[in-house]
Symmetry: C4
Subunit: 196 residues, 4 copies
């Protein structure tokens, strides 16, 4: 039950974060197709952030599935993750309204990097509390994707001063890499169940 309320709260925050992002797409004053043109970068940023938040919700969901007891540190590590994700609408808006200017791209990557680190901390806390024989420990394994993501974010941040599109490519690459739901946990869960 403790876990239920943590999940409900996280779902609530993620649902609101994902939805208030749409408030950044301000209704234009004109009523012609041309009036929508300045919104294109805003909508593109919205799509990218929507996918990122979807991935986080999805993986959070799978990870929490393996948690048996919510301790104080897990609770705060979760809030820490939600903190960084709550800043996504701000950086999405800044990036979109400034047509992917270098500095806005760098901050966007920076927030994603911090969220990835927060996720990593949360994941490790859960593994630690449930032991290396726990479902999550087995499922995560060497955590290739989790270790590659921060590197790609840093490359994205570094390259935004060369060209915004190279930077965007790195961010899209990470999203694509994670878009596939975390089969590892699903598979490990199924194996566990078939053994018992």
């Amino acid at each position: 039950m403790q876990k239920g309320r943590l999940e409900a709260f996280s779902d609530g925050v993620l649902a609101i974060v994902i939805t208030i992002m749409v408030l950044e797409i301000k209704v234009p004053h004109g009523h012609e197709l041309a009036d929508l043109k300045p919104l294109i970068p805003v909508v593109l940023s919205y799509i990218l952030s929507f996918i990122y938040l979807g991935i986080y919700w999805n993986n959070h969901h799978h990870m929490m599935h393996t948690v048996k007891r919510v301790s104080g540190p897990i609770l705060w590590a979760n809030l820490h993750l939600l903190f960084w994700l709550s800043l996504v609408p701000f950086v999405t808006g800044w990036m979109g309204e400034n047509n992917f200017a270098p500095m806005t791209m760098a901050l966007y990557g920076g927030i994603l990097l911090m969220a990835a680190i927060a996720y990593f901390i949360l994941q490790n806390l859960i593994i630690q509390e449930h032991g290396t024989e726990g479902i999550l420990a087995k499922a995560v394994g060497s955590d290739f994707k989790g270790k590659l993501s921060p590197i790609l974010y840093i490359l994205g941040i570094a390259s935004c001063w060369i060209n915004s599109w190279i930077s965007a490519l790195f961010y899209i690459l990470v999203a694509l890499m994670w878009l596939i739901p975390d089969k590892r946990i699903e598979r490990t869960l199924e194996e566990e169940e078939s053994i018992n």
Copy 2:
């Protein structure tokens, strides 16, 4: 439980989408009845979108009732549907603030069309995973309403350049058609239960 969290998240997003739409009804500066007059198209668009989102919540609710296992593709098809629905407040605001100008009507219909397609994809994925003998497959049957809606949306989009009200009529027609809750699923569920 997996399903519970998907439903909770979808409910959260839909509840927020339906409620932030009201933020588009901006408080007028004057305090006379006449000051409310420019808000009439905004309120009318709000009512139409409120009904549409109510229908989606309602049918989503019935459809999810038949789901036994949430797979990765179902999860993403659901997020895809929520993406299009999350754009409803934007198009509602644009349409309302521009007094149902043709282009705003077309975009409104376009977003509804995309949401309908997303719903169709989600529905087919669920049917596919649960087999043609599943409850949803039986309940949906030939899916007359599901196939007619996109056609009506396209007619609505096409006719907005002739007259905004013809276009509005098509959108209202689709809403009325769906306003009746999906008895098919309810009935099929009851039949299933009475057999077992």
Copy 3:
């Protein structure tokens, strides 16, 4: 479970409606105590609406407790109630920003009246579906408060052109009358349980 999702969705909408109302309390530009003065009517309206929405949530909670099966009409009657409640932030903002001008007071009362009617419809639908021997039917009884409220709202609307404060008194009176949680349902529920 059907009922659970209806409750969750209603809770979501009410929680958002109650919270976005606070967005109408705009952060003032100055940083002195005097800069807060123009906000007094806005905060007073916020308090009144907060109490009203609290009452609705509270009574909705008690009423839903007695529901056994959610039918299509109940679902739509519930959405109809949520529609009128979703307009509360708008009328609260309008009333507060215009220092309780007569017309804004009238519209505030009008929305409360519509919400009361929507609540009445929902209540009657539930009673109808569960029979006059159902818990809600017994608990509501002659529904004195439910019948008095619309009259007081109408008096409030009518009197706002004489004096805004008389009108406000009527609205506060209704709130006070309902502030006491619906003991009738609680008592009837307990009686039912003690019999079984």
Copy 4:
């Protein structure tokens, strides 16, 4: 179940309050690093309030764990707490946008003080209804932290006219003091379970 809906509603309100606070971090017009500089106090206030709301959610969660029956007074005491917490985004925004001006610091402390009092009332009502032998009564004990907090808030409010940073220190001190989750309830719960 009654309790479940109270928790769900509180979670919803807290999740929304925590998330709409981010709307106060307005997207700047420029796209240089320097354009973010005026946002520093806004972000700092956001972090402090995020931690405070996290603490409230956390402790609310633990406290509700010990509740067996939700009575009318508990329900309203809970709404009273949510009322003061719903004003946190407003005072956070005012404080941040005015670079921690004395009066804004005082109001921030005032709202925190009122929330602390509301929490105290709620806690006492729960203890009263469940008896001094209840889990919460044992866990809270002499309630040292609960009694110290209001004093620190008052000191914070008083000192803001001397120096904003002294005031800020008091507020940060209270947050740090509470950041440690309420082990007392956790421990008492475990003891209770080990006895049974």
